[in-house]
Symmetry: C2
Subunit: 281 residues, 2 copies
């Protein structure tokens, strides 16, 4: 499918994509690019990538995957695109799409083809050593095309995504950011806020923390660099979702304050039934 692939950002997602490319023979060579020398050495040593170099050599690649924390994706793209040869393809795999597409559009040209995608395959771990085969199997991958995108390239990336074992959905970049504010960014923010509160309160008695709390806060063990980038880049939609969440908490708080048992049960039951319907999707 490709000759030389460049993975910029050899972390969980970047290294897992490299593994899948090699496993499925989608390219001849896979090279890593990362500011972290140790990640590159580890990935080469365990065979995740075939070798590594500095970004000035990225011109040898006909396909580049930008998998850095989402806050640096635009700068990486601005740096990489002019270095690539005619007809090369670049994708980014960040969790925020609207801001990235808006900012990079003025720097795009007809020589190099850019496709923004978002594979929904994160786990709470991070770093090259967390990478694994099968991470993307059966997961959704969202593609957010923009006006003037090269349709042939989109088709090629569709095939690439399918080869990774993922299901494809197309979505407007701004719509994507709104949906993910609610179903991913807000839950992470809440988990961080709860863990921070428990830390403030911490004493020996918190050892009784049970399964519910642990599951709930598992996602707070993700990379802080990644999440601060996401929170800041998707600021507007996230702040809107926080406001609505606070309204939701206020509603349930009022029912408790007023001892409104009947409405409280109704509210919780409705949430449970909806939750169960989500699980069945």
């Amino acid at each position: 499918m490709f000759n030389n692939v460049g993975i910029v950002g050899v972390g969980l997602i970047g290294a897992s994509i490299a593994l899948e490319i090699k496993r499925n023979n989608l390219a001849q060579m896979v090279f890593g690019f990362d500011e972290n020398q140790k990640s590159l050495e580890l990935a080469t040593k365990n065979g995740t990538i075939d070798g590594y170099s500095s970004i000035k050599d990225i011109g040898v690649c006909d396909f580049v995957v930008v998998a850095t924390p989402v806050g640096s994706i635009v700068d990486v793209l601005k740096d990489v695109i002019p270095k690539l040869k005619d007809g090369a393809i670049v994708i980014d795999v960040g969790s925020v799409k609207g801001a990235v597409v808006d900012k990079i559009k003025p720097f795009l040209n007809d020589r190099v083809h850019f496709v923004p995608i978002h594979p929904i395959a994160g786990i709470e771990k991070f770093g090259v050593l967390s990478a694994k085969e099968g991470l993307f199997e059966g997961a959704y991958c969202i593609v957010t095309p923009y006006d003037g995108i090269n349709k042939f390239t989109v088709s090629k990336i569709e095939n690439f995504i399918k080869a990774l074992g993922m299901r494809i959905e197309f979505m407007d970049a701004k719509e994507h950011d709104k949906v993910f504010a609610y179903i991913s960014h807000l839950p992470h923010l809440i988990a961080y806020a709860l863990v921070a509160l428990i830390e403030e309160k911490d004493d020996e008695k918190f050892k009784f923390i049970g399964g519910g709390f642990r599951d709930f806060t598992r996602i707070a063990a993700s990379s802080e660099k990644m999440w601060s980038d996401i929170f800041l880049l998707n600021k507007d939609k996230l702040l809107e979702s926080i406001k609505e969440f606070e309204g939701s908490v206020e509603k349930i708080k009022l029912l408790i304050e007023n001892n409104n048992t009947e409405e409280l049960i109704k509210y919780l039951k409705q949430a449970r039934i909806y939750k169960e319907s989500l699980d069945e999707r």
Copy 2:
């Protein structure tokens, strides 16, 4: 250990205790008492209990486990205690202890011995069919003694708890309710509030809901009767924890609004490190 055991409330916890009593030969007979006739029939049919009757016959039991939703525990105790013979033991297994102990104390006597306990072994399922052997294995069980409690009975209940495979901790009832407001009741409330918000927003696009959100809201699939009881009985401490949680959200919101990247990363990192330290306990 006992002759006739009465399980009042044959749900997840009550039926699981019945299973352990039978598996470990801790009693000669285990009888069920429940307003829900179907639960009693199911539990008898699959051998969880040896039989069932109406509460007026509870006098045959020398050991009674009250495992109803916590909002009805006080009424059940008031009804059951006068019917029991001299020296009988009653425990309750509710998730809120302070309000129950305060309300039942005036109705206690020297004939029947009451010990409040809280096994930390809930799962998000509920009902007699969710009961299973091994539910309590290795879990903590908190005992909240009160002034004037019968020490010999406490020792006997300690042995009973150990026979169920649990580790024992003693705690003041009010302290218990404060700790569990933060580590259990608040997280559940937040999960319900988030699911309710997502439901309001619901459209087809929410099918991308990933592992993070699912884990996060798993606990919102618990019994609404149980949780509305808990929220209302532990009202004061829960409202306090909600207020502090709102402050925690506000803090992280301000960092985002002000694009304070450095402090935001610091805040998230601190939460991650604390979360990891919790997992190691």
